[in-house]
Symmetry: C3
Subunit: 643 residues, 3 copies
């Protein structure tokens, strides 16, 4: 694994660059990402390019021995470009234009902007495509950040109509697929169809799902235009994009197919603060992040690329600026996050950013250096971890325990139609992932189309849309299967399948969901050591009722190698189900103390302590570690050689 | 009482219809509502009507012996119609157009749409008006649903100006009535007057009240146009509209005057989740609904029609789709709700809907049948209750105990000027209703103009606007009177009357409110077994201070047969006041155990158990019930013959 | 000190005026403010003036012996004027026009409206400028009320561009100052710069700060145009404006420079309910207001005027109408508030309003009279306090203990970039003020440019922007200094200074903030009797760690006469720091029991009891008071002569 950093030469006097490069290398970094927001410096006026500074920056970094990841600057078109095409902005669901003044101010469907994006990509790739320093390209930056996938512009509307015509062929087919007879929503032509926003009450969920699919496709095709140019003009270099955390608005499996590497931007403390964690977790892990935040995304994005190549292109090195509250990581966390990425198979961990900028939106975002150029705490940990990374070398292939099947359209179904407060397929996946990890298991988060070979368990936490192809493979799967609630409950167009839920999964599990309930917080169906909460599927089935609450409610059914979790897969109930399935699968589980996590590869077992206090390594891991001690300090870790 | 269901033949293959009709009849249903959202199937292109399918559906249902309630489809104008008149949409208070894609996408003030609505009504009534199967018409569907009474369109503004000119005669009179001298808000002509939205801070409350009155009148006149056509073309049939729960945005007393029957749509579980119930109630009654939700609306809408005819045209049969959380009713609740409607005098209970639709917005809304056509739990309870309804037959006239006076403009006053957080005349009525019912009393919720003859008590929970005519009748009333806070505090134009509150009620109660306070949650003036909360009227009066808090605050004054409740009529304090007034009125009260309710008609006393556990019938009800047992199971009920 | 009231002759029949004036004088009032909302009565049609009624009103009030404060009516332009210039309205940050129908419906940058405002001011001042009854003018009314300082109109945008050109000279300088290279936000001309709203994510904080500065300047120049006319046409009269509570959107120090007197509108109960007080404070002080609300603003606005002249032009006399909940003041509070204003040096306390209006937006706002003309409780307290004010006479100059430095741009920095939830420089000032007052100290809240002579302490609770000039003066200051977190952390353009925080304050305190954290509620670094909460500055310094938490976190550093508070200056931690600094300063502190406050002037010591129960005066105050007793009842007070 390599270490790197994100650098903005355009922010600093040219005479600082060489020293910066030298210090990077001295710190053990060998990769540097540059350029992704620099359009106004590359092309300060229409068609007037200023390459000299960038030529020079590349030379200086290259000379120091750094491999360069160069970003296309399309996330930040300059003002002059926007003024030429004032309709290029995205429009929000309320109809407000999302204008210039920050970033990502473009609509993915605007044809004029697509041309401009291709033009600047071609210019950049034309100049540097074969430069020996350039080893990788990043397309754009964080597609979808600031809620930018869904645009309600006229450009989007026009493109949506074409997309619908392509998908459905005839408007009669669309009316039929969506059930538009309901409430007289039938259309006579594709030209009559508007975007699903600004309706009196919610639009048809089929309409929304189609719009979500379309919007995702627009991101993917926008990206593909750049990837194609880069491959043409920069042969042999990898093409990468940087994904975000807890961000499902476009299909990363689709995007990943056209990339060489999928990387992501890991900010565990900001995510803990901004996403749906409990107050207790936000308190206990305030300076560490919940122990599954980073690992979940490592295991998710590893499954998104063409061939499992992935990395962390932006790693939080200190406090950030963008969460409601912005604490500093506990001493040790930057090192811990780095080695945890390694344990999960990253090819790169790159810290964001080299030096804290004293100006503009992110001036309160820490870097490896302070704004005055002195070392910030993050740099010291990077320096500490670099030789450890070196020493570990090749860690071997990951151990395969459980495959957790997640699909983006599943999340779009629950986002469109939560039916109960806060219900989300993405978060069901996260909670189930936690349950698996609390048993000490390795998890691969895989697309529905991925092979299940070699796994002892396959888990679908909440998969409303399931293809016949997946159902067939599950039927053939000999390991333990857990099917979560709402799985198979919807067709591709977000209608209820004629056979009812779990739809085609009835090929795998003989049962039928006849009624579903969502339950407010505080309503619990109490069993022994677990409770059914938030959701209840009622089934007609001959399966065995494995978990039955005191009031007779069934939370888990079992039939052969398949369990059906009929309540929301979160907390104690999914802990129990996972533990039973793992036992049935013959997996060696390790009950993890709170806040500890383990990750096993061919060569090593890594143990990480996310608590703010010392914890002993579980006895299941024998002997003395090669890195660390058996008593892990707060934010500590240990690496054991595997027998 | 009849049982029925809501059916959408246009959603299902024609070859299903006959079997559906047969199964309805077998289940004990004799009424079916159809057609109210079918415009795009009736008139798929401008002026091209397709009647055949509807002819056929009516024949099939009729042949099975079902009486048909036919809806005008004006709540769902098709896309082609909207595209012809793009300014027909309502506009929200933020100025956003509320477009096509769901339902109720029209502005009540748009003259072009009014013509279209009349045209389709005339077409429908012309074809089926004298068909023997048609026994009743429903106009439109749920006026006001999705907050659609108030539109801020240009059409509304123009109509509002005419309405104001009509009401006030001269603009000087309007300026005077509204006190527009305040903040230089005076107008020189009606043409200068805009709608009260989008002002810098709140507009004049008189302006808002006028706009609320106007908007209500627009609903009523929109409806009247349809009712007139139906009466002309469909002689002898009843005209009905379906009202909603906790919905006060138009004056249902005004609407009721032009209808033959007022029906309503009863979704107790959804209402419990979405309206202002406490967390404790939401927990304890999660699968039953608060015990007064259904009854309150039964007793309210019975008082809205011309002659007391009313029914439930949509009865929740299982989980719905539209609340934040959507649990299933406890087994027994569908039967309970049905017999409770009967106990309150309904002429129809019709379950919504026959078969759950597998598509579109309400695909997660249960029906009597599942989407696959199998019986859902609701059907079984309908089958169980049908013979019970049959057996009870004519239950006799309701016993008259208390009249609770409620007017829609009262609610508009508190909605416009709450003065304290969450204060609402409608909810004051609800809380007071609960207090009355906890004493085992029958309640009629009546318009201010309704006769008070035959009642032992008259209660005005919160009636800011009181006419001299009502004050005269109260003065003559010999039973016990309870006047709640803020009553008589406003003129018809929402100004303070010269004599101060309680205004003309000073003819009935000799006292004057000199100061009012609203109190945040947690501020309590504690008495013995009660506390004054949320509101305090301070009075100058010679009346007796009946309830005095430890700190000297007076919560209730008494003068002859009149009590003035000076604090918010909610919880223990109104329980105490109601109990004392009932005793003074010589009424036989029955202290109801928590969650139990009683309803007395000429022939029977019904007892309903809303708790999720067994409860004994109070001893005050002697002997053995003709239906049920003395120990009521959860969601159980008993019917006693009255001596 | 004088007493007065706010009167609206245009609201009442002319034949009431003389009696009203007589009753005012009888109650001990000698000042009356009129006219500030009367434009539609003064000029009912364009250029048609009706002066007669106002002539008459002035005569009647004058004849009764009242001195008149006349307001320009520019906060309420009439409808006809708005219809002439429909683009005169402000626009909110969402792009919505803020139209006619309430008040303050104008954009400060609209040149046409500026002309109209000058025209009506000139007309009014021309007619009454030399009238002997007129002793003072009020410009407009509550600039900024209802969030009206920031307008996002085209007028504002155009004016902003000119303002930027004036400030920065060249667009290159602006790009450099704002760091627009970040995210390619560079401009090629001032004409390319838009307002900072409606961006995809937050705009550059430098952009926002500039817009806040600009908006404040627009208010000041709008006001100056009126002040200049009034000084020209009404020589010898004072010019005043009425500020609000907790309102920082324009720079009151700038405004104050061009006024003779700064007054403010004191509504402690409304402020308690609407601003960021704890639930406990809202409960305990529900009818009194937090004990520092009124005093804080007295001490703030005293420091805003040219020469310390200030007053309360609107004093809450009973319940108001505009808070979420509107309780009545505890008996005694109107008197207490009046004498407290006196103790802090007010020249006027004027009750708002004389008679409660029975109509329009403020009909539920109490006056000294009820709507029916009878005395409301407030009048009785005014009558009680008038002779006490008389008796006290000249109270002497205030004792100088501590200077608390506050600047409006500091608050704009934290408002633009809170970095942690709810962090605000204004509230840091308030919390620190409370800590000082709990030690029984007098506090002057001063501008950064104010002299620090004569103070024993100087406190900067949170001053992100600090000039070299202030740093120099602090360096020379011999008293105790407390520097709060984030002080000196920003340049004038909201970037990080090259030397890092505390910037130029490093001349005073030798230390450097190397990292800052914001902490969510519940995260506490516990010391002995205090805890660090919400914020932590980490320092490199040789100063002594004075307050060290159990986990080693340093909350306060000490170096000579300077303390650096590294955590948020709120609650126990700032209590401890202030107490230590006061002791080091040799100040005589008086530990105040909860809810008691003291204020010392040359002649007297005032003690106020804000609790809802009796409290003894602290022993430190010897002897018997000249007003009140040593045991203060709820809402009671005592005045001691000072030796």
């Amino acid at each position: 694994m390599r270490l790197g950093t994100c650098y903005y030469p355009e922010h600093w006097p040219q005479d600082m660059w060489a020293d910066d490069a030298r210090r990077m290398v001295e710190a053990g970094l060998s990769r540097v990402r540059i350029g992704e927001f620099a359009w106004s410096r590359i092309e300060p006026e229409p068609a007037r390019f200023e390459w000299e500074w960038l030529d020079q920056a590349i030379e200086v970094l290259h000379a120091a021995g750094l491999g360069i990841i160069l970003g296309t600057p399309t996330a930040t078109p300059p003002k002059w470009l926007c003024d030429k095409m004032p309709d290029m902005f995205a429009v929000d669901a309320d109809g407000k234009v999302r204008g210039f003044g920050s970033r990502r101010h473009y609509c993915f469907s605007h044809l004029g902007y697509r041309e401009e994006a291709a033009r600047i990509t071609r210019a950049l790739a034309g100049r540097y495509g074969e430069h020996p320093a350039i080893i990788m390209w990043q397309t754009d930056n964080e597609y979808g950040c600031h809620d930018t996938v869904h645009s309600f512009s006229d450009s989007a509307r026009d493109a949506f109509r074409l997309w619908l015509a392509d998908r459905y062929g005839t408007v009669e087919a669309l009316n039929e697929a969506w059930g538009n007879v309901f409430w007289s929503m039938e259309y006579r032509s594709f030209e009559e169809i508007d975007l699903p926003n600004l309706t009196v009450t919610e639009a048809n969920p089929s309409h929304w799902l189609a719009f979500r699919r379309f919007s995702s496709d627009q991101v993917v095709s926008f990206d593909k235009a750049q990837a194609d140019i880069l491959r043409e003009l920069s042969p042999g270099r990898d093409v990468m994009h940087n994904a975000m955390g807890f961000y499902p608005d476009f299909d990363h499996h689709d995007l990943g197919k056209q990339l060489d590497v999928v990387m992501w931007d890991s900010y565990p403390l900001g995510f803990l603060e901004m996403y749906a964690f409990s107050e207790a977790d936000r308190h206990d892990y305030v300076r560490q992040g919940h122990p599954d935040i980073a690992a979940f995304h490592h295991d998710l994005y590893r499954g998104c690329g063409k061939n499992g190549r992935w990395g962390v292109i932006e790693q939080q090195p200190g406090p950030v600026n963008w969460a409601r509250n912005n604490p500093a990581p506990l001493p040790g966390m930057v090192r811990l996050w780095t080695l945890e990425a390694m344990a999960h198979g990253a090819e790169l961990v790159s810290y964001f950013r080299w030096r804290q900028a004293p100006f503009a939106q992110e001036q309160m975002h820490a870097g490896l250096l302070r704004p005055d150029g002195e070392a910030a705490p993050g740099l010291k940990e990077a320096q500490q971890v670099a030789p450890e990374v070196e020493r570990l070398g090749d860690i071997g292939a990951p151990v395969k325990d459980a495959a957790l099947v997640f699909s983006y359209p599943s999340e779009w179904v629950t986002a469109t139609q939560p039916q109960g407060e806060g219900l989300s397929a993405l978060w069901a996946a996260f909670y189930t992932y936690t349950a698996l990890r609390k048993q000490g298991l390795n998890v691969d988060i895989v697309a529905p189309s991925a092979s299940l070979d070699g796994y002892a368990m396959a888990v679908l936490p909440c998969a409303p849309i399931v293809s016949g192809e997946l159902a067939e493979r599950l039927k053939a799967f000999r390991g333990q299967i857990i099917i979560g609630p709402r799985s198979g409950s919807k067709t591709d167009d977000l209608t209820i399948p004629p056979e009812l839920a779990p739809g085609k999964l009835q090929w795998v599990f003989d049962g039928k969901v006849t009624r579903s309930e969502s339950l407010r917080a505080g309503i619990e169906h109490q069993g022994e050591g677990w409770a059914g909460r938030r959701w209840l599927d009622h089934l007609e089935t001959d399966a065995d009722a494995e978990l039955v609450a005191g009031d007779g409610t069934v939370a888990c059914w079992k039939q052969g190698n398949v369990r059906y979790c009929a309540t929301w897969p979160e907390g104690d109930v999914i802990d129990v189900i996972v533990a039973r399935a793992a036992e049935d699968a013959g997996l060696e589980t390790v009950k993890m103390p709170e806040g500890l996590r383990i990750r096993k590869s061919g060569e090593f077992a890594f143990v990480f302590n996310y608590r703010n206090e010392a914890r002993a390594v579980p006895d299941a891991l024998c002997g003395e570690p090669m890195i660390g001690e058996r008593i892990l300090p707060a934010a500590g870790l240990a690496v054991f050689a595997r027998g």
